[in-house]
Amino acid sequence: MTSTLRSAASVRTGISAGGRSGGQASGVTRKTAPTNRSTRGLPKLIENDQDVTPKRLVDPEQYYNKVKDSVLSNDASSNPSETTYSTAQPQVFSATKSLMGHSHGGAANSHGTDAESFPSEHDADQLAQSVATHAVEEDESLISMDGETPQSLLTLSETDTIFVLSIDSCIVANDATDLEDIKKQNERYVELCKSRQGSDVFSDRGMNTFNNTVKNKEVQCERIQSQSREVYASVADMYDSERGESKIILGKSTHDKQTIDEPLSRTDMTRSVGSGIDKSHGTRLSEQSIDETMRKSTMAKSTNEQVEDPQSFDSSKIAASVFIMERILNSNTNQVKQAIYRGLTPLTDREEKTIAYSGLTLDKLFAYSAEITNNKNVSALTWNHQNSDLLAVGYGPFEYNDQRNGLVCCWCLKNQDFPERFYHTPSAVTTVAFSVKFPSLLAVGLFDGTVNVYNVQNNIDKALLDTEEVPGKHTAPVWQLYWLGVEKSRDDDTGEVLMSVSTDGRVTQWLLRKGFESNDYMKLKRILSKQTIQRRDNSKEVKIPKSENLLYRQSGGLCFDVCPDDSTIYLCGTEEGLIHRCSLANNEQYLDTYAGHSGPIYRLAWSPLAKGVFLSSSADWTVSLWTIDRYQPCITFTSRKKPVFDICWSPKSATMFCCANEEAVEVWDISRNTLEPIDIILTTHPYIFTSITYAPNSECVLAGTNLGSVVVYNLKNLPAPTKANELMEIIKQQTHQALIPEDPTVKAAAAIKPKENVPISNNK
């Protein structure tokens, strides 16, 4: 329809005209108020003191009046666009405007089917005025601004969409009341359309929108650098970003700066290099490749940065990696030995050229030693209760001469060259013990009588607790420590107490409350057994009353051991060679005394498998096996003419134990041979063995030397472990054998219940 065409055209122009409302308004203003026409109508743009107001392409002012006249005088039927097109363009400019105005005003009656006639004269005025009114509001603002500032800001924006003609289809239900009317109307419309072709009422006209002249404007901006970055988000990255720890970095500021500063060619190079690198995996893979190439190219520039780098390198950051690295290196070097320790068949690809051993043998695996432990006498060995690979070793000389600082080291199987933890102590270490209840507490007994407690979770030299200030402190070297589980008497008790024995003759209980609190379990009174007296005074028979002690002095305790079956009973060995069996409850009297050794007792050990059997080792070159009901040793083992420093029962076999005397490590098996050890390791170097222990989780024996190394020996070809009853059998045999040549009084003596303090003598 022509009308629609017209309105469409006008809509288009309307929009464009609206965009230039400023100019339009000014044009219109001039028309309505020609007197006001002045230079200030146009907004001026002044930049750098120059008038850079863009000049109008066309000056409507000149032509407006002309056009207006021509428009008004135009024939109604003539094609408006043709007329305007033939005349100068400014006519078009305003004529089309007028059309727009018309369509505004005539929008109301644009619905419907009637042909629209060309606007009549009065309509033209109307529309001009409507345009004016439409534009006046905007102009008012302009006027006001013009009055205040020489330069006003022109904001060009799109107006809202103006619907000049909107014919919406209307849907009527089939049962509407005026259905017939509507149908007739529709039919009439269809007829009209059909008859439109050749009808005289309608005439076709063509329309053409004009392409207005274009003004070119050039703008130049800074070169926009671009760099492509690619990131591949893997499953891990998505997980990370969910948790807010996203590591996807798309651009580091330092590197961006570098690229911008660099000349164009270099940027291109990095980009091209970056594209050539495989970007398919890893979040920062492409990043880093780019970084590396960039780093390479800027190596010269950043030399001064690199100088700073070593100083700013904080080595504690790689502590974890380095720790693991050391372990792995160790395992690489020592894998075979470690496998043997664990009891696994070692992984070797060479043929075994070992000598076939027939019996039990001790095979040296490795030694725990480091520079810091050089030339230090190993005085104590103990295992951790939770981690059975962790061994605590105490270093310190046994004698008083040449006292130096002591050392405690914790060694682990995984690193044989350096201890996990090392603590320096002010004086020599004589004993160490790990707590059972709190496996990270290590109690250390020192030569000067103090007891320190360390926490092995860290490597601080300062002890967690010590008995320096405690009044109940020992005044002589502490020779043995033991953590004993007790019932809690108070709520803040830990359920564990520390037992210690010292040369000052006291067996003390230490409670770990806020500090150390001590109680004495027993004061070791020095007594002279009748036996010993008899031995001295052979001539006389001195009757010593039971209750009276000859010399009421304290005797130094060197070792003790708590019975594994009954934790209130413990054995204590003294310097005079007596072994006392005591009870925790009774701190006045001994339950029993066993006399058999003639030298100080270095170590006592209850058998872990057989009840009531214990071993004692002494400086008189012997190791004795006792049962609690006999006051004579059941079996005595001697092999070398050296004091036996340490003994240890085998945890698996009831008849096996090993001992360390100065010259050798000896493994004894009572079931085989009671006169000789079944295997010996002799010291070949100028060192002596000072302590010994079995490994709890391996068939190995660890022996400490006086030069600071703890040597690990593997027991090969172990016989089948023996049971406790076998041990008892052997003991019975032995005792029967021993009994026969002796007086029958001994049997009677053995039958007496062990309640008295006075030991039983041979000749009663």
Binding site: S234, V235, A236, M238, Y239, D240, H281, G282, T283, R284, L285, Q288, S289, D291, E292, R295, Q306, D309, P310, Q311, S312, F313, D314, S315, S316, K317, I318, A319, A320, S321, V322, F323, I324, M325, E326, I328, L329, N330, N332, T333, Q335, T348, D349, R350, D417, F418, N459
Partner: protein, 106 residues
């Protein structure tokens, strides 16, 4: 110029590094930081450069492999055993530690 006194942990780590360098069979030790600059190296420059570049790509690949399988997991260590030597790599958050150890001649 570093004016800070090294902390005890730093001293310990330095000692551990020394022990590693003098361990049996070790003939190379490199610490690289994440932006490609190497902090410590006991092998010549060119070898270090190529080594770090290659190892880093491999380490990233291995790490993404581990983490793609289970995002809560992370790579702590890996070894490459070759005919002539063994390369031990410990990737870290900020640094990468590489040790070259000769193979045990059994």
């Amino acid at each position: 110029m570093s004016t800070t006194v090294p902390s005890t942990q730093q001293i310990e780590v330095e000692e551990t590094i020394k022990r590693i360098q003098t361990h049996k069979g070790v003939h190379g030790f490199v610490i690289v930081s994440n932006d490609g600059s190497f902090v410590r190296s006991t092998i010549d420059n060119s070898t270090t450069m190529s080594l770090t570049g290659l190892i880093r790509t491999l380490s990233d690949k291995a790490k993404s492999c581990v983490r793609d399988l289970d995002p809560q997991n992370d790579l702590t260590f890996f070894r490459i055993r070759t005919k002539k030597q063994e390369i031990l790599v410990a990737p870290d958050k900020d640094y990468l530690t590489i040790v070259l150890q000769a193979n045990e001649q059994h």
